[in-house]
Amino acid sequence: MTLPLLTTHNLTKTYPGVRALDGVDFDLMAGEVHVLFGENGAGKSTLISMLAGANTPSEGKIYLDHHEVVFDSVARAKAHGVYTVFQEFSLIPTLTVAENMFLGQEPRMGILVDHAEMRRRAQEIFDELGFPISPTARVSTLSRAQQQMLEISKAFHGDLKVLILDEPTASLTEREVDHLFHFIERQKAKGVGIIYISHRMQEFKRIADRITVLRDGAKIGTVEMAGTDEAALVEMMTGRQIADIYPTIATTPGDVVLEVTELATPGVAPSSLSLRRGEVLGVAGLVGCGKSRFFRAMMGLGPRRSGTVHLNGHDITRLPTREIIRAGLYYLSPDRKHEGLDLAKTSDENLALNVVTSGAPVKRGWIDWRRVRDTVAGIATRVELPEDYRARRVSQLSGGNQQKVLFGKAFGQEADVYIFDEPTVGVDMGTRAALYLKIKALAEAGKAVVVISSDLPEAINLSHRILVFANGQVSAELPRTEASEDTVLKYFFTESEPVQ
């Protein structure tokens, strides 16, 4: 029995009125991949933020190589060889890739920065990791996946003992995930201990050695990956059994409500689409395949090169976004922080905005706040937002509850077609199941729903019909009955040139 590389003893973090992490004992072996698993708000992020030095524990101790360590800053943790790749990137968009990599520790010649050396060393690291990034590129020109790779690459100068990855695959394509896993394997072989946070069981099954499950800030248990099945993990995570999180949505297609003809936008070739009431359309494809861009163009959020969009027979092609929304096409943004919610306001205030702009409780410009409050209360109940959270500022809610508020905003605005762009990004199982039921309710009430998702099982299991995008084109349209994961996946990759 070898001794662990990193241990925590009774690690606890309290905020006023909240015990975010409750006496967690955790250990990490050298050369192991240890997955942290749990719903949003279970305490995973709190735990790693203390290991990363971004946060200090209220109680408890951290031991590295059997010596007690105090990580009072991220720099201190790094100096000990503990490196964390957070979900939120710490990159400076106006600097180049190499400059970002060596920020604060630039190689120098005298008092001048040695740019050539910096580029050379950056290139070396990328070559080793197999990441296709140019050291001279400006970070603002990189895709999200490339930025993620750059964040990971930053860990590789200096002596790495512990690598912490927080949802590293959230924005990566399958191929990039393979790269990442390959690289993780090599780090394991070198004796690096890896803490890996993810919701995606399918993925971490491939690399995990052990899994620690957290719930409500407490450790539920640590299990070996080998010999543990998904159902058991989900039960540990949620404290209840979830037979199937995807509901069966009745198929009763009505009239055509949305008719898109040959709509083109930069990066997407002219594509058409017709949608009926009561129908759920799943839209699948890799990150960057144009699936989101196509629908954003439809909403007036991106340039429209050609084509028409008709909603209930009316031409809405040239209308500004707000009028498209008023006409009955609702778009739920995948980016709740920047496009979705006002983080400094409460849940209720965020919900009230759409109730007010829908115009229902407004008479001659005056707002009837009592009606707004009643409607908001109804919406909060409908999306199962806990009562206590309604008066809380959105920035203080977990990702799952933020997403519920975002869904709630959609219900403040009466619409015929709802476009949900990545509706469950960073959302835990329990909340996902609840949100899926909302989608079911909408469809069965005669609304048309579009679910754009990079999570393939989600795109397939929720919908009646699947649209697959690849390289900026519709590569397949399949009825649910013919859409297994394997068949759909085939259409993710095409030989065609990417559309400009």
Partner: protein, 338 residues
Amino acid sequence: MSDATAPAQVTPRANPIKTLFIRVGVLPFFLGIALVVFSFMSDKFLTGQNLMNVARQSVYLVLVSLGQMLVLVSGGFDLSVGTAIALTSVASALSMTWAAGVFDSVFLIIATGILAGGCVALIVGLINGVGVAYFEVSPFIMTLGVSSVGAGLALFMTGGIPISGLPFAFGDTFGFGKWFGVPVPVFIAVICIVVMWLMMSRTTLGTRIYAVGGNIKAAHLSAIDTKKTLVLAYVLCSLIAALTGVLLTARVESGEANLGGTMALESIAACVIAGVSLRGGIGRVQNVVLGAFFIVMVQNGMNIARVSSYMQMVLLGSLLILAVIFDQMRYRMIMRGA
């Protein structure tokens, strides 16, 4: 860091000082300190007579701050409010002297003056708003540029000499008159406060301005015309500045290109001290009124305590910076959920 704050056990524990600070900002603390300090420095300060005086003097800053608040809440700021006042003063005075030779009715002459001032301010506001909303010029550059242009024009039109010869009725009514026993400027300010409060809390325009300042992209996706909302905020701000310009012109009984010179700084200070966030989306009318009152009270207190006007500038600037520092602290607390 969403996970970190999800409650495992909720045991609400509130520190009343912190709660007050988060709710309304630094103002109650500043107000309390100022009252205590100035009462010690002079026994003339805390008298009904003097406080009435402060109330009367603060009318102008209250008005400008209300306009400034609109723009701050929308996520920008307006450095050109002082210029709008000067331009209004010059334009209304010039047109009144011109109208005096055309109309016999004093009422018509005054109406012409007010209308001209309003039109000039409307143009200033439109230029600011269109620049910020449609051409996406940063509010800082846009309003700073307009401020220079406007100040230059006002000085050019007057040659730097005050325009006198306004109708006596103008100054007698809007400068020194009383309606229902209340000084006219105070009367007008009270109406503006009520209208502004209703607008911000009870109308869709108010909701729209808060939404645009809070998260402009989210507002866009909530079917709000963000550009029109921004333009309206700047136009309304300018129009209120114009109203102030007319009242000040009546008070000094001449059109002057140097009126309102310190208004931009003072109004921003009043708003920030009153808890209006420089990031937009947050701010309350009633607090802004108190904030402007506070600034004027500090100036009054310093006058009574014979602090030189140069040192007053030093203190005002320091207060603004302090207020912003506290605003940052408050914003962090709000986002963290203390």
